[in-house]
């Protein structure tokens, strides 16, 4: 197909993941009382970031494999 869908998926989750991770680093620990004391923004942000980067990595691998 004309647009590799993994590209927007990869970017979107990388950006949202980075946003959450960043927010998790600077946010006050008080707000994590409701999430059982776990800094969920930091940890889940990293999960999203990793997912996004894997998607982008797959795109890059496909592109390298195909001579332009």
């Amino acid at each position: 197909m004309n647009l590799d869908l993994r590209l927007p998926i990869g970017w979107m989750f990388s950006i949202i993941g980075a946003l959450l991770t960043g927010f998790g680093l600077i946010s006050d620990d008080m707000i994590y009382a409701r999430s059982l004391g776990i800094n969920v923004n930091l940890w889940w942000g990293l999960v999203l970031l990793a997912f996004g980067l894997v998607m982008l990595g797959l795109v890059a691998r496909t592109r390298r494999g195909r001579p332009s």
Binding site: M1, M12, L20, R34, I38, V40
Partner: protein
């Protein structure tokens, strides 16, 4: 419940999502050159994308909010919608029906009905389906706006207009491809947005064992055995033993066979995703591949409802109470989002919720514009125009499909009963349709008259059955018994639904056979090649290795779902 405050980071996530949704439409706009590109994605969608879209198009309001609500109200028995219903149906559509849908080159489900039967059968299906999609999309919009009003205090009108405009833009620009691509994006967002909620809920309650233990008081306070909320089959031997009020036969035949097969095999909304696949093999694999994540979805949509009701009993009144004093089950997911997620993840969860509503809306709108343009406009209003003309009509149909949905959303705010009534009517139309398809695909002798009058008979019989029965504790009216007397009382609304479906299906099946035998078909064997099982060459798949064949995948899917049924017996 008090309005939830969103922070800057929550709005930022929401805005990032909107930018990507609109951006995908924008990038795809230049590929929309013919009506086939716009309505069928040029039949070029890879399997994994078609499969996830197949799943996601159905993940609308009703799925996410409704399944969580049922999870709270009935417990894990709700997963029968997946493990008895959807999954076997998806395997069936992939293995047995897709060769006819894709192979016939029909562009829509109504068009298949014209090729196989006749014009009136197609017209009946096209018109009811078009009306149904506009109303479903309107209901989705209404539910979203109502929810945002309740949870965030957002203005109802702003939410309706905003969601309508976003969906309009991305479908207008990129057609079905845009809808499909966004559905896949939304699929990942829904999974990754709801998963932390489930994980936190389970951790809080002490895992599955903790949850099971906390569901015991829920079940016993309702007068059932303690395990009724955490076992899917154990209490199905009699209607009185479980909160759904059904026994195994009504469950397997009504929900599993008629309703689920009827929906997944004949509803153009989902079938369209597989028809857009890049090859016959991809089209056959689409529903099979979709079935794998689908069977795990109870963990994402039903489990939150069970967690919410357990917390409600354990921690005292988590869910808001309705006017009659029972908890408002529809609030299970929003309440949990507010309960567990801090600013940040809360934004992600709400974005996921909005994504699910939008994908439901977009699915309906793309199915509507195709059926409208090909099956109504091109067939009855203006045949024989250039492809450009129909592409323009597709754009126009997208606009007035959305306007119609907005109107339906407002109708829902004013006439709640009318919406219930319409949904009932659609249920009456859909259940018999599966009988028509079964006979059409597997019985060469079925005729156009048989199909049409069989469908009408099935629909009328469904209305009769519903009009003469009543669930216990309901007043005659929208819930049934509107034809004067209730001849039979069902223990629950769910049981009444299942049996209405069984009766409607049987009536259509028998009537279609009887009328077909009395009339002669207008199609020769040549006309029916590729449309009927016995006249179509089998696809042998000899060129594929055994593990690549759709039949192997289908068997594996059924095996996995059997294991799930046993684990949660």
């Amino acid at each position: 419940m008090p309005a939830v405050q969103l922070g800057t980071v929550d709005y930022a996530i929401l805005i990032v999502y909107f930018c990507f949704v609109l951006g995908i439409g924008w990038v795809l706009r230049r590929y929309m050159r013919s009506s086939e590109d716009f309505f069928l994605s040029g039949r070029s969608i890879p399997t994994w994308i078609a499969g996830l879209a197949f799943l996601s198009a159905n993940l609308g309001a009703q799925e996410v909010i409704g399944m969580a609500a049922s999870g709270a109200k009935y417990g894990i028995m709700t997963s029968h919608f997946y493990w008895v219903g959807a999954i076997p149906a998806m395997v069936f559509v992939g293995i047995f029906m897709m060769p006819f849908y894709y192979g016939s080159r029909a562009r829509s489900v109504p068009e298949y009905l014209r090729l196989r039967f006749d014009e009136k059968t197609r017209g009946f299906n096209a018109i009811t389906f078009a009306v149904m999609t506009v109303f479903s999309s309107g209901i989705s919009m209404y539910a979203l706006a109502k929810l945002l009003e309740l949870v965030l205090g957002w203005n109802f009108h702003t939410s309706v207009v905003l969601s309508a405009i976003i969906v309009l833009i991305y479908i207008f620009l990129g057609g079905l491809t845009s809808a499909i691509y966004n559905e896949v994006l939304q699929f990942f967002l829904i999974v990754l947005g709801f998963l932390p909620l489930v994980l936190l809920g389970l951790k809080d309650l002490g895992g599955w064992d903790g949850l099971t233990a906390k569901l015991v008081p829920v079940a016993s306070s309702a007068g059932y055995d303690g395990g009724a909320w955490s076992h899917s089959w154990r209490y199905l031997d009699s209607p009185g033993a479980n909160p759904m009020g059904v026994e195994w036969f009504g469950m397997v035949m009504g929900l599993g066979f008629v309703l689920s097969f009827g929906y997944w095999c004949t509803d153009f909304l989902v079938v369209q995703r597989a028809m857009a696949a890049e090859s016959m093999l991809a089209a056959r694999r689409t529903p099979l591949l979709a079935a794998i994540p689908k069977m795990l979805f109870p963990a994402l949509v039903i489990l939150p409802g069970m967690i919410a009701i357990a917390l409600h009993f354990d921690r005292g009144g988590l869910l808001p109470l309705g006017a009659d004093g029972t908890p408002n089950y529809n609030m299970a997911i929003p309440v949990l989002l507010a309960h567990y997620l801090p600013s940040g993840l809360l934004g992600l969860g709400l974005t996921a919720l909005m994504a699910s509503f939008m994908s439901g809306m977009a699915g309906n709108v793309t199915a509507f514009n195709t059926v409208w343009t090909y099956d109504i406009y091109q067939s009855y209003i203006k045949p024989g125009q250039s492809d450009r003309h129909y592409l323009r009509m597709g754009h126009a149909a997208t606009v007035f499909g959305i306007i119609g949905s907005v109107a339906a959303a407002y109708a829902a705010t004013r006439f709640n009963n009318i919406m219930d009534m319409l949904q009932l009517v659609f249920a009456f139309v859909n259940a018999p349709l599966f009988a028509t398809f079964l006979l059409g695909m597997f019985w060469r002798r079925a005729t156009g008259h048989g199909a049409f009058f069989g469908l009408v008979t099935g629909t009328v019989v469904a209305a009769l059955h519903h009009g003469l029965t009543l669930p216990e504790g309901s007043m005659p009216g929208i819930k049934g018994a509107y034809l004067g007397t209730a001849l039979h009382m069902y223990p629950s609304e769910m049981a009444q639904n299942f049996w209405t479906a069984i009766v409607a299906w049987t009536a259509c099946f028998v009537a279609t056979i009887a009328i077909s035998l009395l009339t002669s078909g207008n199609k020769s064997d040549d006309d029916l090649r590729g449309l009927v099982y016995s006249l179509t060459p089998r696809i042998t798949d000899h060129d594929l290795k055994w593990y690549q064949r759709p039949a192997t995948l289908g068997a594996a899917v059924l095996g996995m779902v059997l294991v799930l049924n046993i684990i949660f017996w």
